[in-house]
Amino acid sequence: MSAAALETARVWLVVVLTLLGLFFTLVSMTGVLRLPDVYSRAHTASQADTLGAGFGLAAVALTVGVAGGGFKSVLLLFFIFLTNPTAAHAIARAAFEEGIVPWTEGDDRR
């Protein structure tokens, strides 16, 4: 009885986490498409996408459990939280060193 209730709770938690992951990935995509320059796009690429991937991977870890290889999912999660900002930093820094001026209000470049 209580085991069944626990499983139901877990199932719905997975659903919620997956939907959150989808939502933040949607935000990330919208940002990458709408924002005006490479720096502001790097914001959503590094942050919203990291959070979206984080929620998605948390949902996966919860689904498969420890025995099914969920620790690999957790490992992936940590890895993405470590590497995504680093990669975004490298890209933004490359843009900065190329001399790309950040967009400010009034700039008509889009």
Binding site: L35, A42, P85, A88, F96, R109
Partner: protein, 415 residues
């Protein structure tokens, strides 16, 4: 680095060998007719002994009044372990001073008896990040002690694992000091590796990579066990000097990990909270963003703490670390709200908490310290250093820029 070949434009111009990396042995030794004292930055390297022999010889023949053996502190007074590191530095200096005195005694040159040997530890009051900071400390010391020459040990690397010699030489060539790298034979790569690799690092990295391998594989299966040990051995032998820049220590490393575990949920909550705000802005049809580039000088120490802080800033939505130059972080912010949050410095305090403990976390905010600048937009307080960021030019990062450079950069963008 091409900068090392550019002619030195500072100082008296008497030594043109300043910026070259491999000074010819002959002319460097007999050259200096200087009147000022000589400064030797000291670190326990494998070439320190021969550097000192060279300096003592040159000072005796050249008539320098004093040799200053200076250790530039890579720690800061008040930090945990600063006492131990200061004591270790003192020991190195004592040994170096003894060598210098012995070399001067042995010297045949008439001036040898008049040369005074001075030792000093300097720079411990401040966090030093890169070549520019080191040169500033050296220049202040030279000013105070009437020195006009710096002799560098070719293996000199004060930060630990990063090679600082070339940027250091370049930055020094822009001061009035004359610079020379001691023409001593470097030991071969192999020897240097053997002297610098530490057993603690090797074991720590071996354990770490073996644990990772077993996490993915199956430690009870003999094949995985054998390949795991072999792989971990290769990784730890080749990379222990690269991946760890200080020895893991017993009370410190576990404490840092424990405090890091406290920090992770806090960071996750911050990330989530700020992500919601930014998501609302991005999904808003009017897209009400006001991006600016900002500069913030942070006090966390170099290496891993700086990386932690920079990555935390990047992960927190609305702010993106674009460039870390010494202790200056160039941060792009999407919203004024995110910028203000950044200048409040809570991430900086958390990073200090993780690496140095609760006591070190109390610190005025960057805004109160006046360590912040906005580089774009209506509130701009400094100009954007977009053309001065090539990494070769010391000093004037935040200096003014001719506007031509900005238009050039715009053209680059439109390609």
């Amino acid at each position: 680095m091409a900068d090392a070949d550019s002619p030195s434009d500072g100082g008296d111009g008497s030594t043109d060998s300043t910026a070259s990396t491999e000074p010819a042995t002959g002319d460097a030794a007999g050259e200096p007719p200087t009147a000022g004292a000589v400064i030797v930055p000291v670190e326990p390297t494998s070439t320190l002994r021969s550097t000192i022999a060279h300096v003592a010889d040159a000072a005796a023949t050249g008539g320098a009044p004093a040799i200053h053996l200076v250790e530039i502190a890579s720690w800061r007074n008040g930090d945990p372990e600063s006492d131990e590191r200061a004591a270790a530095a003192e020991r190195v200096l004592e040994r170096a001073a003894a060598w210098t005195a012995a070399d001067l005694d042995d010297s045949e040159a008439p001036g040898a008896a008049a040369v005074e040997v001075v030792t000093a530890v300097t720079g411990a009051g401040d966090y030093l990040f890169g070549a520019d900071d080191y040169v500033r400390v050296l220049a202040e010391y030279a000013e105070a002690n009437d020195a006009d020459r710096v002799v560098l040990d070719p293996e000199y690397t004060p930060v630990g694992n990063t090679t600082l010699l070339q940027p250091l030489e370049f930055a020094l060539s822009n001061t009035s000091l004359s610079v020379e790298t001691a023409p001593v034979d470097r030991p071969t790569r192999r020897e240097r590796f053997r002297t610098e690799a530490s057993a603690v690092r090797l074991v720590a990295l071996f354990g770490l990579s073996l644990g990772f391998y077993f996490l993915l594989g199956d430690p009870t299966y003999w094949f995985d066990a054998v390949t795991g040990v072999a792989t971990a051995a290769v990784v730890s032998i080749t990379l222990s000097r690269v991946s760890l820049d200080s020895n893991p220590a017993i009370p410190r490393t576990p404490m840092r990990i424990a405090r890091g575990l406290v920090y992770i949920p806090v960071l996750l909550f911050e990330i989530f909270k700020a992500n919601v705000v930014v998501a609302r802005v991005i999904l808003d049809p009017r897209l009400p963003i006001e991006p600016t580039m900002n500069r913030m000088r942070v006090i966390v120490g170099s290496g891993l703490p700086l990386m932690t802080l920079a990555n935390s800033i990047t992960l927190t939505p609305g702010t993106l670390t674009v460039r870390a130059r010494d202790s200056d972080l160039y941060v792009h912010s999407l919203l004024p709200w995110a910028r203000e949050g950044l200048f409040d410095g809570s991430l900086e305090r958390w990073t200090r908490f993780v690496y140095y403990g609760r006591r070190s976390a109390r610190l005025p905010t960057p805004r109160e310290r006046d360590d912040v600048a906005i580089l774009q937009g209506d509130d701009a307080t400094e100009e954007l250093p977009i053309a001065a960021v090539d990494g070769g030019e010391p000093g004037s990062v935040s200096g003014s820029e001719p506007s031509d450079d900005l238009t050039d950069a715009d053209e680059v963008t439109d390609r």
